[in-house]
Symmetry: C2
Subunit: 317 residues, 2 copies
């Protein structure tokens, strides 16, 4: 693939990481930044990672989408916003769009693709990426990569040709891309990790995953939650007329064993909670519960966890 | 019954309330106090209650058990300590015991009677009281009675003649006594309230009961918990060779409907949690789980709640 021009909007830890890996692979990557703008403008953007450190000494960085747009049109906008920031997409992404610009949203949550699509011009090719990665911000301009680093990539509309364009974008980069024929299935599968681990870790007081996964009753609760989410997800796929199904035992085994190896890793909701920031309640917790309820699937554990996280989230907001 | 001489040890809200009601009924009640000693010594002890306000202007109050013992022997020691203070019983209660002194422990938890009995001279007649009451301390020397006010009373050893002595003690007072032929059954029944409501209210962030009981998924979780506790309790009664059984549907209906009427009431564990004090983890949560496990009764929800409260309790301690 020819070098692509890419704008990263929502350049927190996740957006910065994948943007940097694309820059490393030879693409022209430009970052929209707020908190870290001054540090990156003067000192560059720096990544510490077990897959190889990386420094972009002269990263293109701007404070506003208009200033970023002044660098010229882009082929891709990589969106790393929180789901709570979707209403800001017209303001943040709009100025960067031109004929043929594709949008890749690396975000958690059930219905974020529909919600983002509604904020974009009709016909914009939209991709959803589920980041399986542990990455946090350090000092301004410093990104610390802790775990994993893959993206499960789908296309909103499940267009296989478009999906291949997304896969090609990352060719030659250090990012493992796992193409997903059904974005809806990929989203439910990601929830099979996020709901139990983001959820229980917050409820247990904002603790890292080892406090949950190494505690037998909480491990069992996580497993129970995964079973409910799989049941709801498969009913949702069926209701959407899709033939894809989540393999429940496989996903449970995968996530439970992977999490056992993660040590004192803190899920994003825990980091938000411990820092007094709004939680992604709606995208990660409430919408899946609501969807299960519409489908008539009983999800008492998931409902309970959603309610408890909701109570805690209200205290934060 | 002749006026009895009664020492109240652990004169927090619960101990002070029942001690005051016994004084009101004509008994000679003496209070061991720490935090509120100065206020009560100079200004008396005051109760605000929907069952009638009460002031003991010249309450007998001392700072040490030895000073209280100097007022002469007592017929009863009413213990209102937290379960976490059981190891202090020899020091706090010992000096007050003489031939025939009876001990009534108004405390939550599964095995507190056994644990208290082990700290008392052999042969001491020990009663267990489960307070169904909402009462908190206000300003020093002020007790605020919010809800209910009964004691489910049992005798450690389930001696019916002794039990009657306990019932008689409260005759003529404003305290409703519900005699319990099986103290073990009474303790499990009380756990059917404490585990779901003390537990879920703490987990939801230290909220009052209306936040749990008025939230359908948390209401369902409370109901599920009650079912598990009933199953464990009935197995425990059977293992103890007792014929008494908890009526699960009755207790669930009673507690769920009663709690719906309690409004913004905060269970004791929530008050402890919000004040950064140690939680009664062992007596209310861990011992019931351990007992269920020994009996081979599956209690996944109770185990989960115990683990979550445990994690939160560790942060407090």
């Amino acid at each position: 693939m020819q070098p692509q021009r890419i704008a990263v909007v929502g350049a927190g830890a996740v957006g910065s990481y994948f943007g940097m890996r694309l820059a490393e692979a030879g693409h022209d990557v430009r970052f929209l930044m707020r908190r870290d703008y001054d540090a990156v403008k003067s000192g560059g953007l720096h990544l510490s990672s077990h897959l190889g450190d990386l420094s972009l000494e002269a990263a293109t960085v701007e404070r506003t989408p208009e200033a970023l747009a002044a660098h010229g049109p882009v082929d891709w906008v990589l969106v790393g916003l929180k789901a709570t920031a979707i209403p800001d997409i017209p303001k943040l992404v709009g100025p960067l769009l031109s004929e043929g610009t594709r949008v890749l949203a690396i975000m958690n949550g059930l219905s974020v693709d529909e919600e983002i699509a509604a904020e974009l011009p009709a016909g914009t090719s939209l991709f959803g990426g589920l980041g399986f990665i542990g990455v946090i911000r350090g000092e301004p301009g410093q990104i610390l990569h802790q775990e994993f680093g893959a993206i499960n990539l789908g296309h909103h509309g499940d267009d296989p040709h478009e999906l291949q364009r997304g896969v090609d974008l990352f060719a030659g980069s250090k990012v493992e891309i796992r193409p997903e024929a059904s974005l809806l299935k990929a989203r439910w599968e990601k929830l099979c990790w996020n709901i139990p681990f983001n959820g229980l870790c917050v409820i247990a007081g904002g603790v890292p995953v080892d406090q949950v996964i190494e505690d037998p009753p909480l491990y069992d609760a996580a497993h129970e939650l995964i079973k409910e989410i799989v049941a709801a997800g498969n009913a949702d796929l069926e209701a959407h007329g899709q033939s894809a199904r989540i393999d429940g035992p496989r996903i449970a085994h995968l996530f439970l064993t992977q999490t056992l190896g993660m040590g004192a890793y803190r899920p994003s909701t825990v980091i938000d909670y411990n820092n007094g920031r709004p939680l992604e309640l709606d995208a990660i917790f409430r919408q899946p519960v609501q969807r299960a309820s519409q489908l008539g699937i009983g999800v008492p554990m998931m409902s309970m966890v959603a309610s408890l996280v909701g109570k805690l989230g209200e205290r934060v907001e």
